[in-house]
């Protein structure tokens, strides 16, 4: 094969596609190679039960950056995100808490549990959006490298510190403090009712192997709040037709810029000459050559798999091996015969169109975490559910519904080893349904089909090492200039001409597409392609 490209992107997930699109837009000749038959990676819609379309993995579009939507003209290419701006939290005693865009309604609803909390709730939002505003430039730019105090890093640090300039010493320290706190400790400084703290705290643990009391989770909470920083409307939403539509739209945009996308092309190895990447070889032996190779796969897969330990220096290998990937979540997708009910909830209430959070109190969430610490799936897991068919009837037959349930904790490393997920999959599914039944009596009888994805499935089907949905845990020591390895947080890798553009790079996971965009921009600026 003599085809030569400017760049080859490995993996057609949303980050790989975004990176390819930006490179294509800049006039580069780009090839994207996808292992599976479908593009999208974890950003995928699949008809798993006839007539029912599931967003199998990623199910909400949270942080997809508006700048990317504009620059890649994604709306023109089929991006249609319906806002998901309500949160519904049922409790076992039949009460529930609905939060949404109406501040007076929020106040009344929260006041049923605590009047003080009701009063502080809007102020909390205010404070978080202020913090978000401060963090925004950090998300938007590649991180400076503190170990190399070159004039350019100094300049970047200065630029970033300008951001902090308006802030006094104390508020700066307070923000730093917030970054090192646990979600529960942080929220407890604001609120008193667990009915509020419980459901709010889970934003701090989604996709992590941490409990809501673990230090560092307050920061993750903010990370999720940043969906709100870009404009008046909350950026959480559902893609019409399922999450796969996001990847489709980016792919169409990429193709419009001349990017070539090939599926069923599993990459086996990165081709290297004298330590410089110059292409890839597929599992079937086909070779593709390029001036640069960009990996959208996670750091483990990229370096330990496609590059191979033998071609890396020992120290870097050690760092990558230590980069923690422990998957902690699973997915249960349900095809439902009818709409689930929650006690005391009007069936016409907008609550069902909401993000339904099963996180009734702190101890419940801690117990769920305790199971995972000792290598078991949570007997009573935290669940985040959406019923996309209520907003988008196209994904289910008339009158029927799909329900997407994100489940945590489901540790990849079971006590019996990850392979034992094969034996525990159904028990896991049962635990999810049994728990849900306590909050939505009768849901069991509505189930037409149940599709359980364990972390092992996420690894085997979607190529996520250890089933980690963020390509690496979002813990403090794995963020910013430590992501994925100290000294290599700027999309460049120790292999010359090999770049990393997936969620394992700064600023991390979620359907944000920022790593893809930032990687492409960094490459272009460095004239690497």
């Amino acid at each position: 094969m003599a085809m030569t490209y400017d760049a080859i992107v490995v993996g057609a997930g949303h980050n790989g596609l975004t990176c390819a699109a930006y490179l294509g837009k800049a006039g580069r000749k780009v090839l994207v190679l996808e292992r599976r038959h479908a593009i999208g990676g974890a950003t995928v819609s699949e008809e798993i039960h006839p007539g029912f379309t599931f967003s199998s993995c990623s199910y909400v579009v949270s942080l997809l950056r508006p700048q990317i939507i504009r620059e890649l003209e994604l709306s023109k290419h089929g991006l249609e995100i319906m806002p998901l701006d309500w949160t519904f939290s049922p409790f076992e005693d039949g009460t529930s808490l609905l939060r949404g865009p109406d501040p007076e309604m929020n106040r009344r609803n929260i006041a049923r549990f605590s009047r003080r909390d009701a009063e502080r709730y809007p102020l909390f939002g205010q404070a978080m959006s202020e913090l978000g505003r401060m963090m925004k430039p950090i998300i938007e730019s590649p991180v400076p490298e503190p170990s190399k105090l070159t004039p350019s890093t100094l300049y970047e640090l200065l630029r970033m510190s300008k951001q902090f300039k308006g802030m006094g010493e104390e508020s700066l320290a307070a923000n730093f403090k917030m970054m090192t706190m646990s979600a529960v400790d942080f929220l407890s400084e604001w609120f008193e009712s667990e009915r509020l703290i419980g459901p709010m705290s889970v934003s701090g643990i989604i996709g992590t192997f941490l409990g809501i009391r673990s230090p560092g989770t307050a920061y993750v909470l903010l990370h999720h709040y940043m969906g709100e920083i870009d404009g008046a409307f909350r950026a959480w939403g559902l893609q019409k037709g399922g999450t796969g539509g996001v990847a489709e739209a980016i792919a169409r945009s990429a193709r419009s810029f001349g990017v070539e996308i090939k599926t069923n092309c599993p990459v086996d190895k990165i081709l290297m000459t004298a330590g410089v990447a110059r292409g890839v070889v597929l599992e079937n032996g086909d070779e593709y050559h390029a001036k640069a190779v960009v990996s959208g796969a996670d750091p483990h897969r990229t370096f330990l798999g496609m590059v191979g330990e033998e071609r890396l220096d020992e120290d870097f290998t050690k760092q990558i091996k230590r980069f923690k990937m422990r998957g902690s979540s699973g997915k249960v997708n349900l095809a439902l015969d009818s709409l689930p009910v929650f006690p005391g909830l009007d069936p016409d209430s907008p609550a069902l169109k909401a993000d339904i959070t099963i996180a009734p109190n702190i101890d419940f969430l801690e117990r769920a975490y305790d199971d995972a610490k000792y290598g078991r799936f949570s007997r009573e897991p935290f669940m985040d559910c959406v019923i996309p068919s209520l907003s988008d009837p196209s994904v289910a037959p008339p009158g029927k519904h799909v329900m997407s349930i994100f489940v945590q904790y489901a540790p990849y490393n079971l006590k019996e080893g990850p392979a034992d997920w094969e034996n525990q999959r159904e028990a896991f599914g049962d635990a999810v349904i049994d728990t849900l039944e306590r909050f939505s009596p009768g849901i069991k009888d509505r189930i037409l089909h149940r599709h359980v994805l364990t972390p092992l499935d996420l690894e085997q089907t979607y190529g996520l090492t250890e089933g980690n949905i963020f390509h690496g845990e979002l813990s403090l020591e794995q963020l910013a200039f430590m992501r994925p390895a100290a000294g290599w947080a700027r999309y460049q890798t120790p292999i010359e001409k090999l770049w990393l553009c997936g969620s394992g790079a700064h600023p991390g996971g979620g359907i944000m597409a920022a790593p893809g965009q930032l990687c492409a921009n960094t490459m272009l600026k460095a004239r690497a392609v």
């Binding site: 109406d102 007076e104 309604m105 106040r107 009344r108 009047r115 003080r116 909390d117 009701a118 009063e119 502080r120 809007p122 102020l123 205010q126 959006s129 202020e130």
Partner: protein, 396 residues
């Protein structure tokens, strides 16, 4: 979606216009009939009755009740007489106003507070270590406002309160149709008027008793639009219109100190520590950046402006809450925050926030005015507030 006040059942049938607003989460009538003007005239000529239940209401009791309020507000309460009501505001640590409201002393250790925004958490936060109990009685308390020249006669007829002895900004308990109520001589109209506080469960009976008597005195249910007109005439500021609650806005430029919104007279600096004391002391010494003023547009100039388009001057006799820029020498110097053409005074008056040096009485400014799609300016003069201040308001 808003909820219904305890008076809703009675109020709703009068509201033939079906114009409702959301006031602090409650349905509140904008105007009852075809226009709000009869309601406006009731405020000034007879008696307007308004459901003010959406106000936030708190009862503070305990040995340290006065201490808590003194720590919170810009004035002290230790020496306040029982039976007095005080209008005050409260600030954050930077001396920026959070909210304004009234504080009534019902007993040595017993106060009643009204506020525009929820204030329970704020008061709780300020009361760590204090011997005090704070009860949020917002929903348990029904509230009516009776304002206008005949309001005293109405209340005299239906209650046993000794209104002759109830002075301006005093409060008393009374019985009304056998129901216990609290009556304070306060209001938002700048006229003779009273506010009635009762158990929410008694609301309908209170309404009925007042209305039954009121018929003979020209009583008229009045909505927010008419209320807005009279409060501008009275020169009263409004949270969320003429100033913003400090913790609810993002930038400092949107926050105001009491000095900047015309509440200088409320502030007592030299006493024990209170929220914002240091910042206010510094501001008092330094001078404030902004000043809240009364402004009157030059009517003849307005007429000429309209005349240039061959139009008669068309100013709706309704309050306008939209802010409009003010200029001096072509420079932006502030903005008008509330405006009304007063049918009673026949003046086009505004409340405005201007850079302090432009706030002196008699200063001429240029007020932006759109007559025929085109933005022009007319001269406006800084004048005394209140614009309307009848003697009967304070008369015995």
């Amino acid at each position: 979606m808003p909820i219904r006040s305890p008076f809703h059942e009675r109020v709703a049938p009068y509201c033939t216009s079906y114009t409702w607003k959301d006031w602090a989460g409650y349905y509140a009538v904008s105007h009852y009939g075809e226009t709000h003007l009869p309601e406006y005239w009731a405020f000034r000529e007879s008696c307007a009755i308004t459901d003010i239940t959406p106000l936030f209401k708190y009862v503070i009791q305990g040995k340290d009740a006065a201490r808590l309020l003194s720590r919170m507000a810009v004035r002290g309460f230790a020496k306040m007489q029982i039976g007095r009501v005080a209008y005050t505001c409260w600030c954050d640590a930077n001396g920026k106003v959070i909210d304004d409201g009234t504080v009534s002393r019902l007993g040595e250790d017993h106060f009643f507070v009204t506020a525009a925004e929820p204030t329970l958490s704020w008061m709780s936060r300020l009361s760590r270590g204090f011997d005090v109990e704070i009860a949020d009685v917002s929903e348990q308390t029904g509230a009516l406002s009776l304002q206008g020249p005949t309001s005293r006669d109405v209340l005299k007829q239906c209650s046993d309160a000794n209104l002759g002895r109830l002075k301006f900004f005093q409060t008393t308990s009374a019985r009304l149709d056998g129901i216990d109520v609290q009556i304070s001589r306060t209001g938002y109209s700048g006229d003779l008027g009273y506010e009635l506080w009762c158990d929410a469960q008694d609301s309908l009976r209170v309404w009925d008793a007042v209305m039954a008597v009121g018929r003979d005195y020209g009583i008229q249910p009045a909505g927010i639009e008419a209320l807005d007109m009279v409060r501008i005439e009275a020169g009263f500021i409004m949270l969320g219109v003429d100033y913003y609650s400090a913790p609810h806005v993002t930038i400092d430029a949107r926050r105001s100190s009491p000095y900047e919104i015309g509440l200088d007279w409320c502030v007592r600096l030299d006493r024990g520590a209170f929220m914002g004391q240091e910042a206010l002391r510094a501001e008092a010494a330094r001078g404030s950046e902004w000043k809240m003023i009364g402004l009157e547009a030059d009517w003849l100039e307005l007429e000429r402006l309209y005349e240039s388009y061959h139009l008669p001057p068309a100013l709706a006799p309704a309050a306008c809450r939209q802010s409009v820029p003010l200029y001096s020498g072509g420079k932006f110097v502030g903005q008008v925050t509330s405006t009304v053409w007063s049918p009673l005074l026949k003046r086009y008056i505004s409340l405005a926030s201007v850079k302090a040096q432009y706030g002196k009485l008699g200063t001429k400014l240029k007020l932006e005015h759109t007559a025929f799609y085109e933005r022009r300016t007319v001269t406006a003069t800084v004048v005394e507030r209140p614009f309307f201040d009848p003697e009967r308001k304070r008369a015995p």
